[in-house]
């Protein structure tokens, strides 16, 4: 672990620090935020007032408080949807890679199918069909992400299946489940960490896009994508309404992208610098 951390470069440390800061802000939101982010008032609309450090938005809500609370939903949905995608992708990928043959063929055709859909449009179609809500958004993002994961994990499993220790375990009479859990899964863990992290960036971006299109969680809740969508009508006079939440999204996504690249280089130094 120590040697692994030594391989981390400057951008990696910076983005790790950035991630911890966003995480702390999200966790401590009720303590940091100066006001209730959902508290609307017609008298405060688009005004600069004492006690409202960044002014109020078009609904008279405290802008800074909404930005702070926005971190919560972005991270929550990013992690949750990625976790859901991981569960599906892991089971499908490992089954396909380990058992091979007809099961592999069938599962991989299902994966191909999901990869063929334009990602955002599939999310849109699913969230329209299921109606709004947190669960819908998480599902709509996960249904797009799992296929890529399954494909990568299948390839890794396929390689491990013919490793000597797996063949040895098989000869000793270990069950399939035991081999998958004690030999294949632990060896896939670095890979899983990397694709999990890289995918969070995409998931955060998808959540923001869905919220921007009005298909995210309840629009009254503070989400960065939703804030850009409602703020854009006032952009000419108050560009900050669009710029700040947009910058928050970009910041979070950049952090996870760099972190993902960094983890990949750490676990697989032979590919350092390459894609």
């Amino acid at each position: 672990m120590k040697t692994l951390l030594k391989r981390m470069t400057m951008p990696g440390w910076l983005s790790l620090a950035g991630m911890i800061i966003v995480l702390v802000i999200a966790l401590l939101a009720p303590l940091i935020a100066p006001n209730n982010p959902m508290d609307t008032s017609p008298e405060r609309i688009l005004k600069e007032l004492d006690g409202y450090p960044m002014g109020c938005d078009q609904m008279g809500q405290c802008f800074l408080s909404r930005l702070i609370y926005g971190a919560r939903l972005s991270l929550l949905i990013g992690f949750a949807s990625r976790f859901a995608a991981l569960i599906i992708g892991l089971s499908v990928g490992m089954c396909a890679g380990y058992f091979g043959g007809k099961i592999d063929w069938l599962l991989m055709r299902v994966v191909d199918m999901f990869l063929a859909f334009p990602s955002l449009l599939l999310s849109i179609a699913v969230s329209m069909a299921m109606g709004s809500g947190m669960g819908t958004v998480i599902f709509a993002i996960a249904i797009v992400g799992w296929a890529e994961m399954a494909r990568i994990i299948r390839a890794a499993t396929l390689e491990l299946r013919s490793a000597e220790y797996v063949v040895a375990a098989r000869t000793l009479g270990a069950s399939h489940l035991r081999i998958i859990l004690t030999h294949i899964l632990p060896n896939c863990l670095p890979l899983i960490t990397v694709i999990f992290t890289m995918g969070i960036a995409t998931a955060v971006l998808s959540e923001a896009s869905l919220s921007f299109l009005g298909l995210g969680v309840d629009p009254a809740l503070p989400t960065w994508g939703g804030m850009v969508a409602t703020g854009k009508d006032y952009m000419l006079r108050f560009p900050g309404l669009v710029f700040y939440p947009g910058a928050c999204i970009a910041f979070l996504v950049i952090i996870f992208n760099i972190l993902g690249d960094e983890l990949r280089d750490i676990f697989d130094p032979s590919r350092k610098g390459n894609f």
Binding site: R109, V110, D112, M113, F114, A116, F117, P118, S119, L120, L121, L122, I124, A125, V126, M128, A129, M130, G131, A201, L205, A208, S209, F212, L213, G214, L215, G225, V228, A229, K232, M235, L236, P239, V242, F243, G246, A247, I249, A250, V253, I254, N257, I258, D261, G273, N274, F275
Partner: protein, 316 residues
């Protein structure tokens, strides 16, 4: 080659069927009774039953799926719930705008992406390379709706270089430049990473050293020997990106007010016009499969080695 083409074509059939199955399932799961939408809220039970029978809604699920497949094969994507117009004819009507947007974006992204990637590969590890990497990480991280709005604000509102909104057919190029740039920059960021890594791989090979040793000019080595050999992954990415422009066009066409498929989808989303959304999703998936097929056939045609490899995989 003929055997390969046939096998490759056969391989697309299960994927196509699966896609239609997913689209059908989502349509089936959607809450609300379509018959009620057609008949209106005050219709009585007998009218509703008659409409259900006419629309085939009273049939068992598998029969409905077969009917759905037959309809799609005949080119019938259903009608818009709001306007009543057939979805397919609206799609073909709006296709030219989106296609033009996509083509100009590809032009931008290829120029910027290949240039950035080559520069990154040549100056590997130096400050210029770091800057190119920073550009590509930011490019894939900044959401399209944000860069679209920022470009609109800076170039159209503040600097007044481009029209901010309003589309007219005569002024045929200007309204496309900013939206195409917005979409193109994002793909350029992806492309730059691929070009950089495949160029690095090619530049490390023996024939490049030979070319250097026999005294060819650096530019000639880079483009004639380097880029040409790195071309296959590059073309794949450009081709597969074609369907991702459909994703981006939903947001970009709405922001810049272009009457293409993306804005059509966006209007349908806000009006909960499901058949239209489904039509756009299916179109995207079919474009993706088509492009994929074309790329594979193209590779198999130019490189028999690749063909034999792929044939082995397909026959398995």
């Amino acid at each position: 080659m003929i055997e390969f083409t046939l096998r490759r074509l056969m391989a697309t059939i299960p994927v196509l069927l699966g896609i239609l199955l997913v689209a059908f399932t989502v349509l089936y799961l959607i809450p609300g009774d379509p018959a009620l939408t057609v008949a209106g809220p005050r219709a009585d039970e007998t009218t509703l039953n008659r409409i259900r029978a006419e629309m085939g809604l009273d049939l068992p699920v598998h029969t409905r799926f077969v009917n759905y497949l037959l309809k799609i094969c005949k080119g019938d994507f259903g009608e818009s719930v709001i306007s009543g117009k057939p979805v397919l004819s609206s799609l073909t009507e709006k296709l030219p705008v989106t296609l033009k947007l996509a083509l100009i974006s590809i032009l931008f992204s290829t120029l910027i992406g290949v240039l950035m990637g080559v520069i990154g590969a040549v100056t590997r590890g130096k400050i210029i390379d770091r800057l190119c990497t920073l550009f590509s990480v930011s490019g894939i991280s900044i959401p399209v709706f944000l860069s679209g709005l920022v470009f609109l604000y800076v170039f159209a509102v503040k600097l007044r270089w481009f029209p901010s909104s309003g589309f007219n057919a005569e002024n045929s190029l200007m309204p496309f430049i900013l939206p195409a740039f917005t979409l193109g920059i994002r793909s350029a960021a992806f492309l730059a990473r691929i070009v950089r890594s495949s160029m690095i791989e090619v530049l490390n090979q023996d024939f490049i050293r030979t070319a250097k040793a026999k005294g060819l000019s650096p530019m000639r080595i880079l483009f004639r020997h380097g880029l040409v050999n790195a071309l296959i992954p590059i073309i794949t990415v450009i081709g597969l990106d074609l369907s991702s422009y459909l994703n981006g066009s939903v947001i970009v066409e709405t922001i810049y007010d272009l009457p293409g498929i993306g804005r059509y989808a966006m209007e349908a989303i806000s009006q909960r016009d499901y058949p239209v959304v489904q039509g756009v999703v299916l179109l995207g998936a079919i474009v993706f499969i088509g492009v994929n097929l074309f790329i594979d056939l193209f590779y198999a045609w130019i490189n028999p080695k690749v063909r034999d490899e792929m044939l082995g995989k397909l026959a398995k």
